[in-house]
C-alpha cells in the first residue's frame, strides 16, 4: 500500500484584505464619533423626544449628579477668566492672577467659594482626583450658584447664551427646583435640558406631526 502523501502547503495568509477592513472601520470611527468631554462626575441623563442638538458655543452647563452635587462648566476660557475676575471682586475671594489663570484651564468647578482658591492651587491631576463637594444650593435663594449665574450672565451679555442643565435620572426634584430658582432669580427663564434622543411613540400627536412634516418635506 502506498503511503498517503500529504502535500505541503504554505500557511501564509494574505492579510491585505484584513488590513483594508480594519482601517476602513478605523476611519469610520474617527469620522463618526467625538471624543468624550471631560466630566466631573458620571451622569446618566434621561431620554426625551426632543431632536435639537446641544449647542456647543457660549454654553453655561450646570451638572447635577445623583447625590445632588452641583457643578458648573463653561467652554470658553475667556469667559471663565472674566467670571473669575468678577467673582473675585464681588465675593472677596482673594484670588491671585495666577489662580485666575489656573481657572481658565479648569474644566469644571464643584466647590463652595470658601474652597475655591484651594482648588485652583492644585494641579490638574489633583483636581481630577479630588471628590468635589458640589456648589451649595441649599434652598430657593439659589445659594452660591446664584452668583455664578449672575456673573456668567454679565459675561455672556449680548451673546445668545445657552443655559444647559444636565442632571442624573435619580436626582431628587428639590435640588432641580433650587437650581431652577437660582436661574429664575437671575431672570433667566429659558433652559435647555440635556437628554438622549428617543423617537416619539408611534400613533401619538407628535408622531403624526413629524410624519406629516416628513411627507411635506419630500414633496
Amino acid at each position: 500500500m502506498p503511503k498517503a502523501k500529504i502535500a505541503r502547503k504554505s500557511t501564509w495568509v494574505d492579510m491585505t484584505a484584513f488590513v483594508d477592513v480594519s482601517f476602513l472601520i478605523l476611519t469610520f470611527f474617527i469620522l463618526a464619533t467625538k471624543f468624550k468631554p471631560v466630566e466631573p462626575v458620571e451622569v446618566k441623563f434621561p431620554s426625551s423626544v426632543s431632536a435639537d442638538k446641544v449647542p456647543e458655543t457660549d454654553a453655561f452647563l450646570v451638572t447635577i449628579d445623583k447625590d445632588g452635587r452641583v457643578f458648573v462648566q463653561m467652554d470658553d476660557p475667556n469667559a471663565r477668566k472674566s467670571i473669575a475676575e468678577n467673582l473675585n471682586e464681588t465675593r472677596k475671594l482673594g484670588l491671585t492672577p495666577a489662580d485666575i489663570k489656573a481657572f481658565t484651564n479648569a474644566p469644571s468647578i464643584g466647590v463652595p467659594f470658601s474652597a475655591f482658591k484651594q482648588l485652583l492651587a492644585m494641579d490638574p491631576e489633583q483636581q481630577k482626583n479630588l471628590k468635589q463637594p458640589g456648589i451649595p444650593v441649599p434652598d430657593s435663594t439659589g445659594g452660591e450658584l446664584y452668583y455664578w449665574i449672575r456673573d456668567a450672565k454679565s459675561t455672556y451679555a449680548g451673546k445668545k447664551t445657552s443655559w444647559l442643565i444636565k442632571a442624573d435620572d435619580a436626582t431628587k426634584y428639590p435640588v432641580i427646583r433650587n437650581v431652577l430658582d437660582a436661574f429664575k432669580r437671575n431672570d433667566i427663564n429659558k433652559f435647555q435640558l440635556v437628554t438622549k434622543f428617543r423617537d416619539a411613540p408611534v400613533g401619538t400627536a407628535l408622531w403624526n406631526t413629524r410624519q406629516n412634516q416628513l411627507g411635506t418635506g419630500k414633496n
Binding site: F45, D52, V54, V194, F197, L206, W207
Partner: protein, 175 residues
Amino acid sequence: MAAIEEGGGGGHKGPGVKKAKKLSTRVDMTPMVDLGFLLITFFIFSTTMAQPTAMQLIMPKDTEKPEEQTKVKASGALTILLGKNNGVYYYEGDDPTKIQASDYKKIRDVIIEKKKNTKPEDFVVVIKPNDEANYQNVVAMLDEMSINEVKKFAMVNISPQENELLVATEKANGI
C-alpha cells in the same frame, strides 16, 4: 507571523549552477492589522457616538402681582402629581380630593382624553412634583407634554394640602 517557514528553498539544479534566490515581494501585514485594531479599540473606548440632545424648557417668571398671573379655568385643568417610586397621580379641575393613581403608560391616555374633551384654549396641564420625585420623572412628564402636543403646561410647586393627599394615596396603595 502568519506563515511557517518551509525548509529548503531554491531547488536543486545541480552543482555549479548558481541562481540568485528569488526574494518574495510579499510583505507581512500582521503587525499592521494589530495596529489597526489597536487604534479601533482606542477610538471605541475614548469617543462617543450618541450626540446628546437638548430639551427646551421655558419657565414663567415668578410674580406676586395677581394681574400678571396666568388665570386657569378649573374645567380645563389637569393636575399631575409626581410622587416617590415613579408614582403618578392626577386630578381634573380644582378639587385635589379627587386624586387618582396612574402610571407613566396610562397617563398618556388620560392626557389625550382630557385634551379631546376640553376646548383647546382652556386646556392646561399643571405638573407638580413633590420632594420624592426624581429628575427622570420630571423630564418624562415634560416629554409627555411634547409627545401629546400640549400647548399650555406649567411646572408648579406642590401645595401642602396636595402633598398630604398624595402621601395618603401612596400609603393607601402600599407605597
